[in-house]
Symmetry: C2
Subunit: 496 residues, 2 copies
Amino acid sequence: MFETAELGRKVSRQEYKAQVPQLRTELLELQQQLRSAGFAVIVIFAGVDGAGKSETIDVLNEWMDPRGLLTRAFDPPTSEEQERPHFWRYWLALPPKGRIGLYLSSWYSQPLVDRVYGQIDQAIFDQSLNRITTFEKELAADGTLILKFWMHLGKKAQKRRLDALEKDPLTRWRVTKREKRHWKMYDLFESVADRLLHKTNTGEAPWYIVEGADHNYRTLSVATLLRDAIRRHLERRAVAGGEKLPVKPVARVETRQPHTVLSRLDMSQKVARAEYDLLLEKYQGKLHLLTREAKARQVSTILVFEGVDAAGKGGAIHRLTGAMDARLYQVIPIAAPTDEERAQHYLWRFWRHLPRAGRVTIFDRSWYGRVLVERVEGFADDAAWRRAYAEINDFEEQLAEHGVVLVKYWAHITQEEQLRRFESRQETPYKSYKLTAEDWRNREKWELYEQAVNDMVAYTSTNFAPWTLVEGNDKYFARLKVLRVLCERLGAALNR
Amino acid sequence: MFETAELGRKVSRQEYKAQVPQLRTELLELQQQLRSAGFAVIVIFAGVDGAGKSETIDVLNEWMDPRGLLTRAFDPPTSEEQERPHFWRYWLALPPKGRIGLYLSSWYSQPLVDRVYGQIDQAIFDQSLNRITTFEKELAADGTLILKFWMHLGKKAQKRRLDALEKDPLTRWRVTKREKRHWKMYDLFESVADRLLHKTNTGEAPWYIVEGADHNYRTLSVATLLRDAIRRHLERRAVAGGEKLPVKPVARVETRQPHTVLSRLDMSQKVARAEYDLLLEKYQGKLHLLTREAKARQVSTILVFEGVDAAGKGGAIHRLTGAMDARLYQVIPIAAPTDEERAQHYLWRFWRHLPRAGRVTIFDRSWYGRVLVERVEGFADDAAWRRAYAEINDFEEQLAEHGVVLVKYWAHITQEEQLRRFESRQETPYKSYKLTAEDWRNREKWELYEQAVNDMVAYTSTNFAPWTLVEGNDKYFARLKVLRVLCERLGAALNR
């Protein structure tokens, strides 16, 4: 869930200074329109200590009209508050219509900390999260716009940040024993946060995961996301109300986000032929034994292959199936849905192919089409693909809870490598059937797809079903990585 | 939750025969339109054994075009099914678009039975229910119409029904040891069902509680509700799609439901003046002591007074407050919201008045305005008041979980008695301020209000916050009942 927020993204002082004036103007204009728009805005700041939550709130208070803002941080409940139900103080702190509430240490803090410290078990934790989603859903049904920012820092980045705060006499007070203790519990916090995020990432109140290391980057990200969300909400309500758009068209400044999880991959990784031959035999042998044991012990496996066109999905799948007993596996290629499938929910066609115990099912493309091709090509509307992240997590969680080993691969190649492969396909008669006009069209949408992949990884790489990104410029490297990861995951599930 | 389904409602053979032909025609016409409407319909039948679940499914299969129906009952999972995640078989059994799926022993059976038999605790039970609402929500987001019927029988009615089935050689097989054992566990089943219903009664997939004792009544009820729901869904989608209504207007047959929870009240109950004086003193004394002890032990009380105009709410409240230390209680009269309140969610104004520990707050009218006056007068749209039942239950559950004693009264008088009181107010100078033109207007909507009250009791009389209906034609009787019930509830909370 947090891979996309550990990319080291930065915005230079120069670019920051260039963007701020227009962004501030737009935010002020939207605030103006909001005043009479009949709905409130709730913005939650949560996340890792030191990732800039309160700094960002400070900036927003500086940039926007303070009369339209309401900033609240919640300390441990007072005795007055303890005498009422838990949500009492949150209800009283809600922003009225026309205003924006900025919340630090909101209703998410206590369940998170209680779970990390083992004061509540997972079922009670889930109950608290469920109460939160009910609360947010009720507010959203009343028209409230809800945005939730998870400000993130990687483990090392957090250490650096805490050290820096401690060195500065002006900020030393912010680093207490509590912060230091929590840093030592980083992995535990991250694992609980992973569950918290995917359980409460709803269509009505989505989480935005923001990399918090760089002041300029995180500030622009939050401000841009806030601006766009308010604008979309104003537009949606205007359309729903049958009005003409009251929203003044303003030139949009886009924060360029050249870094994605894909751009950080080391695409130069290679394996020599001789080493490949050796390792291929080793992993295939291992896989063969593991799948036989999985059959005997009734452990099912589901593999998902997604990737750029020509990234070598087929070849990798071939190397897997070559190692398995043909009675054990099934490859399901996902193309356009049949009539029967079209008459059902989009997840139905995947449910129907779930393997019996002990089998392996390989999906060549998958349910992720919803948030990739259907998003980019506009086959699914905005609301549909946005809510798909939660639907997919829920689906995969059911698989994981049932004990299925779920491994998801994104096979990646660079644009240059893809061009080379396309051209080679064009020139080689027995390969040319693989290349269609659609492949060329998809290529033109490279950046849109890259953004979609980044969001997909951000929202669906969970503890129970992480994504494996496969650097595919070198086929040998890619195939070995696919095999190795499968052996590791299956081995872990079988305690081997 | 089940009070409205134990009223002994019946439909005569004659009326049944008169209504069926048109109802069947309409259902067939709607089925025809459904075929190309692009959405599926899911109808769940759950409830008490012997309340006519399978009989109703039989009738629908007879009345409607079987090619558009899909009927499924779920036995305990087969080994094939156990090898997949729990919801696998439910996904595969979903109706395709254009069709209606009728489900017996659906996804609700197992959690209910497991909880009753103590095989899962409350937190795990809630998790299963949460998974169900997620599932239904996903389907609804995809356009599916979901109706859930809870077919109900009171404890005695169920006994009669099981005895009758057992006597008949043709149906004897249906009454096994299991049914008999479950009847003995009736109260436990009812209490678990209460939680199940209010936790899963969502706007997307509402429960309809149907009294199951009379074949004709339950059949007409289910068929009418199904017809109306399909029609509404077709209309909504047509409007949302910007199309002209494809729905043929057909004359609507309304099932007259003359019986409501109110019509069953014994309005002739009276208390003589001398007895009243005695008991008033007794209960007031008791209440005085109880509220003092509640203060000492930090137990809060919230009283809700709703009722027909001139039913004597004010007088009853007066008799309560007369017994309490003025520092302990607060009466909150609820009229039109203030500007500040209007700028918030409708529940906000009630949250803000929650008492500190040990205090008593009396709401003279309350959050139930949402499902009473706002529904009847059209101030809240259909979706808003329908989802309010779940919102209110959630709110009250938070109060109950916090340990608040919540007592809700509906003060009732007959139409004749109201007229008498209105006229007396008109004639008595010092009372005439109490009577407004609005009171006369409300009186004209008597039947709409009565239906709204019936639904309110059906959906919001929960284990943790039951309604108390107060027969108010005799003021003495009413005041004593109000006092007595409060003493009982408060006494129980304090273990007195």
